[in-house]
Symmetry: C2
Subunit: 321 residues, 2 copies
Amino acid sequence: MMTEVEVDPEQRGGGAKEDSRPMEADGEDAMTRSADATLQVAMETEQNNELPVTPQKPLTGTVVVLGTNQKTASETLQRVRRWSISKYKATRQALSEKMGRGSRTVDLDLEPRLELLKDDRQRYSQVTRLAQTLSNQLAQFTVTQKTLGDAFTELSLKTPTLHVEFGVNAEAQKFLSKSGETLTMAINAFTSNLNTLINKTIEDTMINAKQYEAARIEYDAFRVDLEELNLGPRNTGTLPKLEQAQKNFQSQRERYQKVRDDLSVKVKLLEENKVKVLHNQLWLLHSAVAAHSTSCHRFLEHNIRQVDEHLSDAPSWLEES
Amino acid sequence: MMTEVEVDPEQRGGGAKEDSRPMEADGEDAMTRSADATLQVAMETEQNNELPVTPQKPLTGTVVVLGTNQKTASETLQRVRRWSISKYKATRQALSEKMGRGSRTVDLDLEPRLELLKDDRQRYSQVTRLAQTLSNQLAQFTVTQKTLGDAFTELSLKTPTLHVEFGVNAEAQKFLSKSGETLTMAINAFTSNLNTLINKTIEDTMINAKQYEAARIEYDAFRVDLEELNLGPRNTGTLPKLEQAQKNFQSQRERYQKVRDDLSVKVKLLEENKVKVLHNQLWLLHSAVAAHSTSCHRFLEHNIRQVDEHLSDAPSWLEES
């Protein structure tokens, strides 16, 4: 099911917000998009050159024809011409959208999902950065714990009257340090896997989303073309033009739908994969944190029990303190 | 029981090491010591002015006698003279010890205990600094945990498919953060109490140790004086001098022994107090660490149990993952 609609910029809610951005950034964005579109168009002309092309006026400029090119000069000229026209149309469409003129096709199913993905990516990045900070701080913390543990050990050996007290704290800090190192590694695995999700898996789909956007702009350009011709006067001179525009529109529409469907499948797979990866990673993180707490808790309980047994003849430290 | 011995610098193990220090620092140290000695001597002349003093040649200089002074000019002159002589003798003794000449009295019981205290103070300072670093790092760590917990909460609300997974991690990080804050406070209490022990309790005794050292130098100065006179020729001219030196020696010896006994009592009390304070603080530290681990362990276990109950209809996450 395809739920696309044409949106007039005057009626678009988000349009005004987007248009309020500084012109410079808009220009840059539009250039990137048109560059993407160009790439798409170039691929398009390669793939679909079996499509019927109506005769056009020859170009006035000259084109360098490479010796390895098997096609005739005329064919090459046609391809270059088509490429130029597509590029011009797409750029004009992108600019008119940016300027708040013209209309654009909006996929009401796919585009919100893409927006959600972009937002998720940003949030996951934030979480990953925080987890990385947590891991770095924990690593420093464990180093201090180890050093403190060693200092306690020295004092335990040097102070017979406080041998047990320094010793029990030395063991505690050293164990906590070791367990903390294991937790650091678990958090590092979490951040590493989340980074893969963000910078590889999601990013890969985002590249497809850009290609989809380029195809959408190109399709909209041909759609607007056809609409303008349909609004104009009809006579024997405009009829072939209209016919050609109709053909172009149909081929662009099919191409756009294909790119859209491919992206839709990819986004669905990503959504599922994302949930699976995060589900596992979040449980692993929680388990690692819980395992750290449990091991520390058990060690410290055992530590105190040992001391109590050791001091069973002497009055208990609990009674003393 | 007094276990003091006279030490010839040529036979002292530590003498060579001490003398290898730059002269400048030695001079400064000697000046400080002689200043301490001066203070002691001044106090001494106030307290013991009932002691018999043999007639001495009058001073050639003049002294300003204050109107509020009830004593005669002659008495004041005598006191100033005694003070000057004591000061001169103590400085000469301190310098000759520094230069590796002459002999000094060593208390074989007290002085090793003072050395041990100085060493302990240094080690406790190191442990306190490390504990302070640990506390600071833990404080930063808890802030990151809280921020991460908040980020997880947001994602939990925003992601229905991962509501439980984000939620359980959010709760975990927030609880760990709160418990960590409590542990931070406990470590801060530990460092604060250790700082009091180091900078107040031990420092107080160290000031007494400096006063003891000043009294010891003064005593040694009069002892060396007497020894030198005993080695010289005896006639009617030197006899009163010898008698006076004997008297001075006795009074200085009594004073030195009193200061020594006072310090010995103080050091013994400090040693006991130190053990008591450290015993309590070390158990409090260990208990705080153990309490943190136990509370985290219990919370995380409860956290997982709750999720399991919540998901009892759905397949367990343990089976899923």
